[in-house]
Symmetry: C2
Subunit: 362 residues, 2 copies
Amino acid sequence: MIVTPVDLEFDQPLALARGGQLERYQLRYETYGRLNADASNAVLICHALSGDHHAAGLHHPDDKKPGWWDHYIGPGKAIDSDKFFIVSLNNLGGCAGSTGPTSLNPQTGQQWGPDFPDLTVPDWVNAQARLADHLGIDCWAAVVGGSLGGMQALQWSIQLPQRIRHCVVIAAAPKLSTQNIAFNEIARQAIQRDPDYFNGHYQAQGTLPAGGLGLARMVGHVTYLSDQGLGSKFGRQRQADDQDLFQIESYLRYQAEQFTQRFDANTYILMTKALDWFDPAGAQPLDQVLAQAECHFHVISFSSDWRFSPERSVEIVDALIKAEQGVSYTCVETDHGHDGFLLPNEHYQASLGAYMNWIEVS
Amino acid sequence: MIVTPVDLEFDQPLALARGGQLERYQLRYETYGRLNADASNAVLICHALSGDHHAAGLHHPDDKKPGWWDHYIGPGKAIDSDKFFIVSLNNLGGCAGSTGPTSLNPQTGQQWGPDFPDLTVPDWVNAQARLADHLGIDCWAAVVGGSLGGMQALQWSIQLPQRIRHCVVIAAAPKLSTQNIAFNEIARQAIQRDPDYFNGHYQAQGTLPAGGLGLARMVGHVTYLSDQGLGSKFGRQRQADDQDLFQIESYLRYQAEQFTQRFDANTYILMTKALDWFDPAGAQPLDQVLAQAECHFHVISFSSDWRFSPERSVEIVDALIKAEQGVSYTCVETDHGHDGFLLPNEHYQASLGAYMNWIEVS
């Protein structure tokens, strides 16, 4: 499946939940499958912290890697592009083509950098709704996402209940725990303490806070994996060429290096803040807020995920039951931790596939 | 209880497990209680990663805080200084008075810094044995420690089995898991990526890698606490003077700042390496190695400790049972995580106190 991303300009101002507005912005997205006549088969894919629009297929026949969720999206796959018209975008504030901190601020002619306005999950839902408007989609057959993407799906069900028929919330939580916030803060501190960060104005200085961003990624990476999974993969094995170096040490350094080549530090800070602030229920009970939803829900968690543990998914499921909403739930047995939501797994595929298959389109 | 630390010089070379030797070195230690006539009441306290010799009592009547384990050491306490002669030292390689990276290298007249030789848990046992020799202690009534201190206690039972009658291993593991090593590596990377680290020669440059050491501490700190404990203490509360700042963020920054004022970065790296390398069984089954021990064991774990979980303590207990050694075991119910081993808890106190009370002294 060869796909080509599309850049779409929006020139109507977008008011933002934490204040201010974006006068103009661009969203980069790609689609898989065809929209049917009554636009009843559209599925929105929402990405996680460091994800992007490229969820499936290849951009070029000689690409070495397909999109990040290619195992689950495509012809005949769990999210079947023969049945659905699947839309995947880089969120506003991202660094993969949509307007974000690395874009030029039209008022200054310089990169926005740290001055890019704060974004929240509700803002993303609004931006995604405008993309739906453009594509002629009044109501999504389903909004689907993992981790921060699952939070966007959940937010859709509350914020724009008439525009979503099915909500698939994977490896998410109704809001971050203190420990979650603590790990995000460590990541931010790692970036902000890097002398090459220059309070976010590193581009103007011709530098990159690669050391700090790499550290942030290491912290994230370890918390996305399980103790058991790390043990099975690396154990206490040493590097062949350095008996003093554990393989896990070398692996983390490599992962950090790779990440800093593809991701922007200000964007990382923006995304972790959006995660921290996500709290759709606020002071209200979650079930009362979810009572507004008009869609059916499918919730999936992963047994060894300790960043967003199965208990956090069960909080969502229990609130939905209390709100008398329709909900199905699967906890997938895996030792891949939070990363399980990205990886091939038969049970996961069966659960997601069966649910998507059950969705009616005309 | 007012105590005064003692500095003791050793001028016999100490050969080190990873090569090289220390020609001369100093150990700083303090003692609580009195050694009895046949020296049968001596207890060695081994400290953890960032601990020191000051385990109990006050150095000055106006000290605001007592030693780090004062709740459990003293007259009438779980480790009773009316019964025992308790010895607590700063380990070799430390930064609280014993010879370590911040000491002068006699060959250069400069701080050792990163050139201080690698140390391991077996080296600490050897150094502690020399301190025992000096104090006239042929055999410890007990060696007691938590976390990295528990690993030293375990190592004593294997390395010098005739010199220890009771071994108390608290919140420890028979060796680090991959995840444990990963978190230690992140801490080291945080320090080493700080431009003020200068490959460890920061003292010569008149700098301190405070940013990196603070980050290392934040990572450690979060992993020593439980998700539940953090949630109970901080939840999602904001700072009174900054509604954008979660209290946990402010708390972590404060903890980092405090730590960098009292701890040395090269020492932190040395200590985490000793943790990573600890592996008394190596390629052998743990029970075969523990079969060499001649002491009785007491093992304590903490229910919400995920850095060294109860399962890791049970590995030790199961190996001891298989080796037909005497062992008792308590898992203390707490939401304080790994830090539980330092904090007041009735069940913990009862378990430790009952065991120490059961030890016979003449």
